[in-house]
Structures are given as C-alpha cells and as structure tokens.
Point group: C2
C-alpha cells in the first residue's frame, strides 16, 4: 500500500513540485511576449498579473525590471488588488528596450505571522505556533548567508535567537514576531525551490514625440514664393515660421530624391507627361541618383542639412518619406538588376495590381536570391538620412513589403539611433496594420479619415483603446493626405474641415494635416467618386496663397495651443466617450495619466445643420475634476467642508477653450447646441463652481 519502495525517478514528476505560486495574464503583454509593448520616456509603467496560490497561505510578489543595457534587475514589490490581480509600477528613464518579469512565492514567514495574529486575536494558545518561528527565520538567515548577504544573515540570526530565548511572555514574543523590518529582510531571501517566475517580457521605450506629435505635410516643390516656380529646400526654410507658428512640431516632406523620366506621369496622373511636367516624387531615382540623393531642383545636401538645423531651432523635426521602390531610371536598376523581378523577355517587371499597371515604378523583389544584400542596402538608405540628422520616417506602403524586412530594419536603425520614429503609411486590412505596428512602427495611419458617424467613430476608437491594441498601435490621425480628399471634406465646406480638425487633434495625441490644401480648404476632387485632388501636387507644382483671409490657420494655431497646454490631449490613454442623445453629436473626454488634467470635447458631425442634444456626464468625470483643481488666487480661503463641497457639486462652468465662451452647467445632464456656421465644436474645461464662506462665487 505504501509507496516507500517505489521509484520516483521515472514517474514523470515535475523537476520541482514546491513552487506553488501561479503568475498568469500579464499586462502589458502583446501576443504572449512575441512583441514589445510600447511606452514613452518617463512613463510610469503599471504591470499587472493574476497571482495566486492554492490554499490560504500568504503570497509575496515582486516586479523585476531592467533596461537592456543594465544587468541587475530592479525589484519592486507588487500589491494585490481585487480578484487576485496584482500590480507594480516602475518608471522608464531610458530609451530602448526594457525587460520585465514577475517573481512570486508562498511566504512561509508571512503566513506564520498572519496566522499568529488571527489566533491570538481569537484568544487561542499560540505558544506552539510561536515556537515554529525561529526555525523559519533561521532558514531565511541561512539563505541570506549563502547568497553573501552577511548583514541580513546576521540580523535574521539574531532575530531567531532572540525569539527562541525570549522568556518575557507571549505578548512580547508576538510583538517581536511582527517586526516589519525583519520580515522585509527575510523577504529578500525566499527559498529558491518555492519561487515561480513569469516569462520575461519587453517594452519598447521611445521618446515623447512617438506618443504626442503634430504633423504638417508639405510638398517642397510647391513652396516657392511666386507662381510658376519650382520650390526649393530654401523655400521650405523660409516657410518654417509659418509652420511653427501654427504649432506643428513635425514637418513631413514627400520624397525629395531625383524623379525618374521614363514612363513619367503627367498632371492629374495622366499617362503622358510633357516637357516640364515634374512627375511623381514617389517615382524615385534618375541618372542624378537614387534614394540617397536630392532632386537637383530642390537643392543640395547642404541645403537639406541647413533646413534640418533651422527647423530644430523652431522645435520642428523634419520627417522624410521612405518609399522602397524605383523609377526605371534608378541607378539600382542598372547596378543591381538581380534585385528586381524579370519578365520572360528579360525586361524588369513594373508594379502592378492586376489589371492595374504602374509602369513608372519598379518594385524590388524582396525575396530574390540576393535578399540579404538588398535588405542591407535598404537599411543603409534609412541610415544615410539618420546621418543627415533625420529622426522621423514616414514609410510608404509598408504593407506591400515583407513584414520580416520591417522588423529587422526598424530594430537595426533603432539600436543605433533610439530616437528614430517610424510612421506606417498602411491603409489596408486591419490585421496587416496591427501587425506592422506590433513589429516596430512607432505610429500608424488609421481609418479615421473615413469614420464620420458618431457610432463608427466611437466603435473604432474603442477598438484602438482595447487591450492589447493600445499597447502596440499608436494612431496618427489625418483628416486629409495627398491621396485622400474624403467626400466629407469635398462637400461639407468649412464646417467639415473644422469638425475633422477638432476630431483629429483631440481624439489623437498624434495627428497631421496635409497643407496648404487643408488650411485653404481645397475640396475639388479630380472626378466624381474620386478621393484624388484636382491638380494634385503629386503630379504638378502648385502655388499656394497662404495668406488668404479665409485660411483655417488661426483655428489650427488655437487648437494646437490647446493641445500644448493640456497633457490630457498628449496621450491616447485617457479617452472616454460620453452619452449624448443626438447621433449627429459626439462627446468624449481625455484625461492625463495623473488625473490632473481633463478636457471634454463635443463635435457636431453634421456640417449642414445646427444640432443640439442632452449630454450625460458620469460622476467620475466631475469628481476627477474636483480632485485635481488647485485654487489659483484664493489659496487663503478656508478649505471647504465636505457638506459645502457636496452642495457645490451641482454647479459647473464649462469653459470653451476654442472660443473663450463660458456656459453655466448644472448636474449631470446638460444641453448642448452647436451651429456649424459658427463653430461646430466645443473643447471644454469643466470648472467647478464653489461658493465660499464669505458668499463669494468662483470657479476652480
């Protein structure tokens, strides 16, 4: 009947059966650790996990973290919340990769201490229980000694001996048994056979602009001060104050490399180009050079470096376009024909999506026999521009190149330049867009441009905020791009531009506009049903009257200033939608990580009609506001009593940061009306109305 004689060697027993803590369901965690979760420098990272054990014993859990460049783990105690969910936090103070994991174990000494207390409180005899302590403590002391923590070992030994020797009664012994400092010491030396450790996960820590950025896209060749003139990088330099004054901090230029002549496209993408037609900047490469050269009509590398430096003085970073494709005239075609797919007649296969043909573009054959050399050369393009001072790259159509290429290339560039930021220009199927974000892109274009209704906007942004999407996908919202002039903008007039601007700038911590078409409200499509601009800059040089009286420039300036003033708008983490009883209106708020800042936005999505409705705000919305305000001028006022605060809670001031208007609100349901002919949106700061003891009203 007994197993004493049985062999335990071939019984398939686990190597160690005494690790009783379970660690599950870590957050953040992307695809079980296959990809890094993203954070930005200075973030307080909250790590959560389900941690539990069998039975009633006490658990101890520690969060371990370290930057990839440092070796010893930093250990942070974790705390249990509801439903076996534990949490620990650490601050990421260095760019690059951070690793983290969790260790947990059943804490025999803590179990002993807590049981002692319970039994004593119930009036039970604890003499025998007390007597178990010295052995447990001595074991901890031995482990401390074994790991060369001589001081810990000495203190723990002394504690064990004093407990053992103690003759001054149960109460004194009990008190000694509860010594928090000594328990803390003992916790540093858990029994190794009881330890459970989670898988090690990785965070990618980027700089703040990966999370919060304000983009302006502009074609350099249309930057000239006079009509019928090809713009230059020097013209761009001249326009920097215009861009900076509006509050943009990223200036994104479509490709600035030489443009191919063979099969060049004409204005409005006509298949024949005439003498003087400039072609598409995405048809990269000509006899003057390829991806590492600058189009001669734009200027020189020296001009470019000066532009980068001048922009930096105005807190603007230049973003370049990375389009891994060639015109038929690109030097690569001559020098490395092995990087391209051949047709049966020996010619190089142009780009196509049958039955569509793009004969001015030769795609690389990324899976060719010489793929290693090709990939290295492609990486060297990005590295070349990094060497010129560029830190931000907008990658053209990354979803038509291998995922493995991006994962490798981005990691390689980032290792050498941790400041590098990559924006994925993929407007394709959702799973592909998410995959690109997972494998390293800092930011991603989104479906925002085509989400116009309140339900679809809400559903989309709730998906983007869901776990784990929020941990790898940073949306960058664009109301327009050179490829996208939406129907909403074509037919909605100024209210449509205003509404989309407010939505992009407040729903997204990162957003961008393609100007001057945006601020000048260009809305003529090439033909009905098309999202292409009439006379698009993609195929011709345009001249823009940036000083036009009806420009949205002032509104953009105002909105970007609000973004700068409000940390709530500089992150996507704190987004929450609110109920409003009119489908044509949308209401949401954003809150900063520390809860100290909160902004409420309401937009009329109908550019044709005034719309009104009743807005419902949750208690938390109003409470959060109460918690964070400080009294600006009246700091000598006596603090309000709870009763007074309760009374005051019914009254609020909704202060519109966009127009300066102030509305008096009462309770949780309030009436909102927005007329598109004036301003179709509110960007509100909720201020609490307070009546002081001296019968003086003010707003916090």
């Amino acid at each position: 009947m007994s197993a004493t004689g049985a062999s335990t060697s071939d019984a398939g027993l686990p190597a160690e059966g005494r690790g009783r803590a379970v660690i599950e369901n870590l957050d953040p965690c992307v695809d079980d650790g296959r990809f890094a979760a993203k954070r930005t420098l200075g973030d307080e990272v909250s790590v959560q996990a389900d941690i539990f054990t069998d039975g009633h014993d006490a658990l101890c859990a520690q969060l371990l973290c370290r930057h990839e460049s440092t070796d010893p783990w930093q250990r942070i105690p974790m705390r249990a919340g509801l439903n076996d969910r534990w949490q620990g936090t650490f601050r990421v103070t260095q760019l690059g990769h951070w690793h983290y994991c969790i260790e947990a174990w059943v804490d025999a000494l803590e179990t002993w201490r807590s049981d002692l207390k319970k039994k004593h409180a119930a009036g039970q005899d604890i003499a025998l229980d007390l007597a178990r302590g010295p052995g447990l403590i001595a074991a901890a002391a031995a482990r401390a000694a074994a790991s060369c923590a001589a001081d810990d070992a000495q203190q723990l030994s002394a504690w064990a001996q004093s407990l053992e020797a103690r003759a001054d009664g149960i109460e004194a012994q009990l008190q000694s048994a509860q010594d928090a400092h000594l328990h803390e010491l003992a916790r540093r030396h858990p029994a190794p056979e009881t330890l459970s450790r989670s898988a090690t996960l990785t965070l990618l820590v980027e700089r703040e602009r990966a999370r919060y950025s304000t983009w302006y896209e502009m074609f350099p060749r249309s930057a000239a001060a006079a009509p019928d003139t090809h713009g230059t990088l020097a013209d761009c330099e001249r326009l920097l104050p215009y861009v900076a004054q509006m509050g943009f901090d990223v200036l994104y230029l479509p490709p600035i490399s030489p443009i191919g002549r063979s099969e060049r496209r004409g204005p409005n993408n006509r298949s024949e180009a005439h003498e003087g037609d400039p072609g598409s900047p995405w048809a990269i490469g000509d006899r003057e050079g390829g991806h590492k050269s600058i189009h001669p009509q734009l200027g020189t590398l020296a001009d470019f470096r000066r532009l980068v430096a001048r922009a930096a003085e105005l807190n603007i970073e230049l973003a370049l376009d990375i389009a891994f494709q060639c015109s038929p005239d690109h030097p690569y075609v001559r020098e490395h024909p092995e990087w391209f797919l051949k047709r049966a007649d020996g010619s190089i296969q142009y780009a196509e999506n049958p039955p569509k043909k793009y004969q001015d573009i030769y795609p690389f054959d990324f899976g060719c026999a010489a793929w290693r050399e090709l990939w290295l050369e492609l990486a060297s393009i990005v590295e070349f521009w990094v060497a010129q001072g560029v830190r931000i790259f907008r990658v053209d159509n990354p979803h038509t190149k291998p995922f493995a290429l991006w994962e490798w290339l981005i990691a390689r560039v980032r290792r050498r330049c941790p400041e590098a930021i990559f924006l994925a220009e993929a407007f394709t199927r959702p799973k592909l867009m998410y995959r690109l974000a997972k494998l390293g892109f800092s930011q991603s274009y989104t479906y925002f441009a085509w989400r116009n209704g309140s339900q679809e906007l809400r559903a989309y942004f709730e998906e983007l905020r869901s776990r784990p999407v929020r941990d790898f996908f940073r949306p960058n919202l664009w109301p327009n791009t050179p490829d996208i002039l939406t129907e909403y903008l074509q037919f909605g007039g100024r209210p449509a531009f205003t509404a989309r601007l407010v939505l992009a700038a407040t729903l997204g911590a990162s957003y961008g506009i393609y100007g001057p078409p945006f601020e000048l409200m260009e809305h003529q499509a090439r033909e009905p049903g098309s999202e292409e601009y009439q006379d698009s800059e993609k195929y011709q040089v345009r001249f823009w009257d940036r000083a036009r009286a009806d420009s949205l420039r002032d509104l953009i300036t105002r909105i970007n200033a609000i973004r700068r003033d409000h940390p709530a708008l500089q992150s996507d983490a704190g987004l929450q939608f609110h109920a409003i009883d009119n489908e044509a209106l949308i209401a949401y708020s954003k809150r900063s990580a520390d809860g100290a800042d909160r902004v409420l936005v309401i937009v009329n999505l109908d550019p044709q009609h005034a719309q009104s409705g009743w807005l419902s705000l949750e208690d938390s919305m109003l409470e959060a506001q109460n918690a964070v305000t400080t009294e600006p001028a009246l700091t000598t006022e006596p603090a309000l009593t709870a009763g007074q605060a309760g009374q005051a809670q019914g009254s609020f001031q909704a202060h519109d940061l966009l127009t300066g208007a102030r509305f008096l609100w009462n309770g949780k349901r309030n009436y909102v009306a927005l007329d598109p002919t004036t301003t179709p949106a509110h960007i509100l700061r909720i201020r609490r109305r307070v009546r002081s003891e001296r019968d003086f009203d003010y707003f916090l």
Copy 2:
C-alpha cells in the same frame, strides 16, 4: 552607395527572410498553448487563425493535425473568411491528446494563375505572363522530385513542358494554366523557404460523458431500506433502478473509506461524538485502512465491484470522492509521519484556517522533503480505484493542494486510462477555479448555486462561454450539495426547487443533484444564515422515504428524458440568451453543433409570484428552426415556394416539452406568463406553422 561589398554575415538578418505568411491568433488556444483546449470524442474541431501576407499575392494555408500516438500529420486545406480569418476543421476520433498547427505560404503559382485571369479579362496581352509559368511549375516539379513524390514530379514536369511547347494559342494555354488538379498537385510541394508554421497546440479529447453527464449524489450509509440502519453498498445496488429511472448516468458516492475515531465530529458537526455516531466520511482512515480500503459497515471490495458492474448495466457510472487528507487514525500517519507538518511539540499539525481549527483532519504537507514519494502514493490511490473499475472522480477541495500535483497526477492517470474524468470541487476565487480546469480537470463546480437573478445568471454564463474559458472550463451545475443548501431553496418552496432544477439541467450539459434531499425538498438549515442542512448526512445516518407523494422524482425523470432527446442540451457550446422584458424571467436557447436541434427555455426566477413578460426572439432563432425540420408525414407535398414560406414565417407553435402544452406564437415578440404554483418554467421546442397548398395546417 551599393552594398555589394558589405558583409551580410553579422548584420543580424533573420535566418530566412522569405517566409511572408503571418499566422496569428489561433483558436482554440488556451494561454498561448500552455494548456490543452478540451473537446470530446467525435467532435468536429474548427481551428481558426488570422492568416495574411504583405501585398496582393495569393496565400495557401493548411491545418496540420495528428493524434499523439500517430506520427505523420494529416493535412487539411483551410479557407479564408472575412477579415483575414481562416478556418479548417478535423474530427477527433481517438481519446487522448491531439496536436495541431498551421502552415501557410505565399503561393507563387496560384498568384500567377489568378493574375493571368484578371489581365486576360481586362483584355491585356498575357503572352509574357504565360511564359513565366513553366519555370514556376518546373520548380514545383523539382521540389516534388526532391521529396520522392515521383508521380507528382512527373505530372508537373509534363505540365511545364506542355505549356512551354504549346503553339495552339493563348486561350488554350490559359486554360492549361488554370488546371485545378495540377495546381492541387503543385500545392503539395511548396518552396520550403516560403513556409511559415504556427506553434503546435494541443487538444485534450475526452469521452462524451466529460461534456454531457447527469449526476446523482447519495450517501451510501443512508441507503438502508429501514430506519436506524446503517446503509451498505448492497443497499446502493438495490437503489440503482431508482436512480436509473430518473435518468441519471453518474452516481457519485462521498468517501467510502474507513472513518477516523479520534476527534470524530458529532451530529450537526458538534465537537463531541457519542458512541455510535458515524463521523464524517471525509475524516478518512482508521485502523482498518485508509484511502484504498472500504468502510467495514458499507461492505467489501467485492460488494463495491458488484455495485460498479450492476450500475454499468443500467448505464450508470460510479464516481468516487478523492479527498487527499487523513484522520489522525489513518495508517499513513503512523507509517509516513514525514508526509505531515509537525508542530513544535512533535505532534502533527491538524487542518486550520485561522482562527478555525479542524482537529479531525490532518492535511498532507505536499511540499515536504519527501514530496516525490508522497505524490506517487497519492497517484496510486486514484490508480487503485481505476483498477476497481472507477472512471469518474470528484476531487475534494483541489484548490487547497498544489496545482502542480494535479497537473501531474491527472496527466499520469489519463495516460494509463484515457476514459478517466475528474470533477474539481473548488468553490473558491475565480482565477483558481479556472486554473484547475486548465491544468486538466474535465469538469468544475461553479457559482451557479448562488446566481439567482437573471442579470447575474446571464453575466456568469456569458463569461463561461467567452473565449478561451469555454475551451477549458466545463461547468457542472449543482442546485444543492451536502455543503450547500442555498437561501433560495430554504425559503422558496417547491417552485424554487423546480426552477433551480430546470436551470441546472438546461443551462448545463452536465448537472447534478444531491439526493434524496433534493427530490424530497429538504430545506431546513442547521441555523439561520447557515447553508448547512439540519441533521446533515455528513455527520449522521439518515433514513429517506423515497416514495413520498410530493417527491420531485417525476419532474426530474421528465427533464432528464428531455435532455436525452435533445442534443442541444448535451453541450454548452450553443447557449444564447434572449431578451425578455421582465427581470424576474430569464430566457435562453441552446442549439446543437449541427444546428439541427434547438430548445428554448424560459424560467420564472421568482418563487413567490406569477410573472409575465414579452419575449423577443432573433430572426436567427426562427430561421435555424426552419432550416432543420423535415416534413414527417407529408413528404409528397410540393415544396413551398419562397413566397409561401415567407408568409408562413409569422406563425409558430411553442411546444412545451415539460407539460405538453402548445402555444400559438406570432412574429418575434410573444407573451409569456409563468405561475410558480403550477410550473415555473417552459422548455420549448419551436415548431413552424405551415399552410399547405391543400389548405391544411401542420407544424414542422
């Protein structure tokens, strides 16, 4: 500028950059493959994954599966659905573990074929494109030859040559290029450098009773035919027809081992027992033996084997209780004191949850130095009973023993006896209950007993049906147990017992009752606020009048018959809740995997008052019903035209399987009223009303 001279060896390039297919988000998948998903024998397993690649090329994906005992993979083509979600299915035809994974690759030949078609349809010249084919096909032929598929190689080569040689015009070449059979051949030989393979996941396939079982719990010592007599296993044998007639297929007996004498508990769990008090069956072990012995008053091992055999004749399986704990008199205590925790005075530590003490129970020290020997002995207990013919085990308080013990022990027993079924008796925190299910328990007790409101019932069962819980946690619903006499049953009278019975039997493919207290509606608690039965069988022998006129026996018989007749009720997969506008009512349906069977249940949760409300059924509910019916008697009738079917759709017959009543329903909203004094529930089969051409009404 060119990288031709650069070294590719130390560039951190991926080992293979040409595998372009991505396989993500597999389902079923429990904790990223750490645990097996559960299925039952004969199930059609649907495996889904997000599968995609960059660009526009055609993908091919195959599901690979095999039983653990067989080596070659079975390959099943997968098909793409919406949003890059692919699916493939296989049938599990053997108990034990099955492995599965997915292979996907960009299919160059299929891309070629599909592009050809598109270009040709657009009137483009495809001569050059056609000419690429023979090379692609020849490459496939070479791979076939390399993998010793000579026949495939030969056919493919012939195809390549015939395409090459062909002079009979584009149309004929195009047709040859589209040959489906040859494409199928080529797909068997993908280029290895393009293959992506997912991780390999595991399914645990158990027999049907793991999914669908009907339990009856009974104390053998109360099975005697006369009062004041200790029941025996022979008495249990005599009662088998009683149990079988009600429709139960598992008869679960609390521990049948010798009961300790030291610290024995008296009636109603009093701390002092008198001569003749039988003690708790969970205080296992006396001088007559321990876990592998039978209590002398119950009978002998031969009696037990006869009971097992007799039960099997009535399609009843015996389930035994596994309680890994000892009375102070258990032989283990004497023979293996090293398996128990000692107190400071050398005595063995009894069970406690401070300040509560359970001095009649000695828990094992599962993490003692001799844990390996202890664990092997514990496994040998289960193996002993397996050898006596037991295949089902109800495990007592598994959450107070190490998780690693269960994972190892269950796997070990199951390897030797794949029919073994384990039910986890853990009423503890949710994460622990889920963990036990993940690591191998076939079925689990639930919080069902305490969910009485419609909202909480719905929320709980929707959680249990959510992914991945549904793949590892099989609920077994008990309205009562010897430890649980809920307030609802204490005070709700017969309607409460009926409502809970219907809920358990229809919400759960597995459910059980503790009888005779359930069918005799025992509802007297030991004291106010307690869920313990007055004069509980746990501490004394009871005599039951099973023939009492008010017994629920007939109702139980009817409900279990309905379960047997309806595959929809034999699985938890097809559960769906329906809207009903009265919180006191709950409505849900269950549907069989093949859609052929559907049952609608409505329960009045209020045992005191008649309740009524409007039930809303989704279209799908009614359509599914239409799809599955066959005309029983009128098969010679002409099929209904679409128009007639549309007309008929408004009328239904709701046939109550519980009472036989038939209600005429119209449209999607129907009125339901349930009076607890008659029957507080409907179990309905929806029958479609059809008017035939000969103006004859019948119900399908």
